[in-house]
Symmetry: C2
Subunit: 446 residues, 2 copies
Amino acid sequence: MKEKIMALVNAETVDMAQFKALCSPMNTADIAEAFVELDKEKYIRFFRLLPKSMAADVFACLDAGEQELIAKELTDTEIGDIINHLFADDAVDFIEEMPANVVQWVLANTKPEKRAVINQLLQYPDGSAGSIMTTEYVNLYEDISVREAFDEIRSHGVNKETIYTCYVIRHDHLLTGIISAKTLMLAKSHERIGDLMDTNLVYVQTADDQEAVAALFKKHGLLAMPVVDKERRLVGIITVDDIVKIIEEETTEDFEKMNALAPSGEPYLKTSVFKLARNRIGWLLFLMLSATISGSIITGFEDAIAFLPALVAFIPMLMDTGGNAGCQSSTLIIRGMAVGEIRMTDTLRILWRELRIALLCGLALGVVNFARIYLMNGRNIMLAATVTLSLFVTVLMAKSIGCLLPIIAKKCRVDPAIMAAPLITTIVDGGVLAVYFSFAKLFFKI
Amino acid sequence: MKEKIMALVNAETVDMAQFKALCSPMNTADIAEAFVELDKEKYIRFFRLLPKSMAADVFACLDAGEQELIAKELTDTEIGDIINHLFADDAVDFIEEMPANVVQWVLANTKPEKRAVINQLLQYPDGSAGSIMTTEYVNLYEDISVREAFDEIRSHGVNKETIYTCYVIRHDHLLTGIISAKTLMLAKSHERIGDLMDTNLVYVQTADDQEAVAALFKKHGLLAMPVVDKERRLVGIITVDDIVKIIEEETTEDFEKMNALAPSGEPYLKTSVFKLARNRIGWLLFLMLSATISGSIITGFEDAIAFLPALVAFIPMLMDTGGNAGCQSSTLIIRGMAVGEIRMTDTLRILWRELRIALLCGLALGVVNFARIYLMNGRNIMLAATVTLSLFVTVLMAKSIGCLLPIIAKKCRVDPAIMAAPLITTIVDGGVLAVYFSFAKLFFKI
């Protein structure tokens, strides 16, 4: 399919009938995907060939870089047509990513009523419920009948993002209930909306965090959720398709924070090399300098190393095992808190579980480790015992630190995601080395 | 609200009128949440007080452990009522988690037609589209009118999971199109379904992977998707609420795999300590034994350590920086592949980007590191140069390995998520130590 489109677009003179026949059975998301493969001029040519209604849908599917590329080539009328066709939330997503001069030009060519909506939505802070909502919803008054509701939906519903949940308001715009299209379709035409509506409202305020909104969607299995202002007046709705995107963005941010990266909010291949490097250098520098502490602990035990140089060979194994054991625990706790399974009140219960797990892991690792060192290092029981005992304490210490630090971070209102592998490893390292060399001095009477 | 419910349930004799008044304006998800706080007997008592229709909805919101607890206390009629009220996909989710004897008893008390559906769904392999679909959908024939379609929806729609997308089939059950409730509501009553339906079909087969299904939902912003058999006959639908759960499950699995944990598929607090330990010991053992290689590299350079014991103090910093630099790269690549942004064809482009990023990071770290060692270690230029040069090569090596291994894993059909911090760190460690001591021998002519 993609190949056929490209062959057509690449041709000198485009056969419009063939082009339309080819595009009409395709989904806009598929057409948008075909775009990515084209070079810039082909891009614009292809885009201009699309029927008006489809062009806006395809535009909404593209990412910011591609949208900018196209926008810059369009005429005043063309960009106006697209913005007027877009849902307000998609228009805002696009405008937020554009440079100031493009924004001015785009808004100048937008219908006044649409421009007012866009300007209002642009005022909500990034990541708030207000910034992801749309104003295209169907609202019904309590005192109308089902028949009147259908008339309302038929006359205004065409350009709404969803008509499957309608919002019931009083004349002062106060949200009082919701009514689903299902209820409407199954009801008798003379019944009153106020009697049929569901008053079990799940709603959010414009300033609420988008992560909390996503959690509510998940908990209640919703398709759309109303957004209200401080006086509970309905100002917009959020639809489930945006929530799927937000969950993905928030997850990517967690992956980044948990792996010593400053969150970029942009796809990897579309971020500049300089920006990617800048997002990494901060953490690398901080962790490198923190590792100095481990270095000075080793320096403090130079007498032990001079006495028994073989001790050095076990440093990587002890450090790595400490890091791995700690990051296993912190990962489960961080993720458990992110999906709302683990709460602050569970702290003692978690510590008790982790200690028992550490005991089991420490024993299993200890047995294998003792056997290996004893057999491979000239049946040196003292050396095997020193390393094994250090390993056991390492696992215990790493798992306690790994499960406690994310919880402490949350208590201090720091994002627990930063208490992951890189930081845990660095913190555990120092302890591991101190324990190891202290045992060595004790056992070998250095 | 929760407090009030508990006060009522805890009372000797329950005031039913008060209980109903309290529960009716609450969402089932909130009621299910209130359950978690109660002890076992209170649980059952509370559950039995709920109106029949609400009981099934609340039951669907509970997790497997709580469902089992309740199921075991119910009578034959009670469990039958609940299963018959549940949507088929929720019933299957419940049954899959129960021990065999409970399953038999539950199915024996289920209506025959429901039992047939459940048995059919149970046959699809875990994680396939078939295993997450439901059979409660509205299907319409091509040759009926909009009025007839509404009659069909009114008479059969009440118990369907969604009526917002109806599936158009031929009389041999072949899927030919979809029609949204929106289209139906905006159409004239004499129009023919076959003329109004959308033939741009996005569908999956029963055997398709649930992760691929989730990606299609995200791409097309769908509320529901049809599932067909090999002959394109409609057999079920998947709804977006299940997709949100699947995305979360798949993400948790990635977090686990990327942090040396065997995926558990269960919430942390509900998994036994033994199972949690078992999920961790495998990776810990494997990585511990792999670290032996780093140990033997150190042993091979014992002469260098004996000559200059100060070298040992920089091992933690070099190892940690290598691990951190590598895991930054692998995280972005693994995540980019998971969300479908990075493809196999991008390999060379990625390597070229990572090399430039490594250059920038290596230079920044190198300058700070050189200054620190020079100033703090008695203005020893040779030592500072050895460590700094090793650090630079470490970053270059770690970033190359970190970006290439996930891609290679995918090429070999291994899950790229395992090529994350723990394994990358262990692999990079050996290289770092070999480079460091080789430079030391070269510079200090050992």
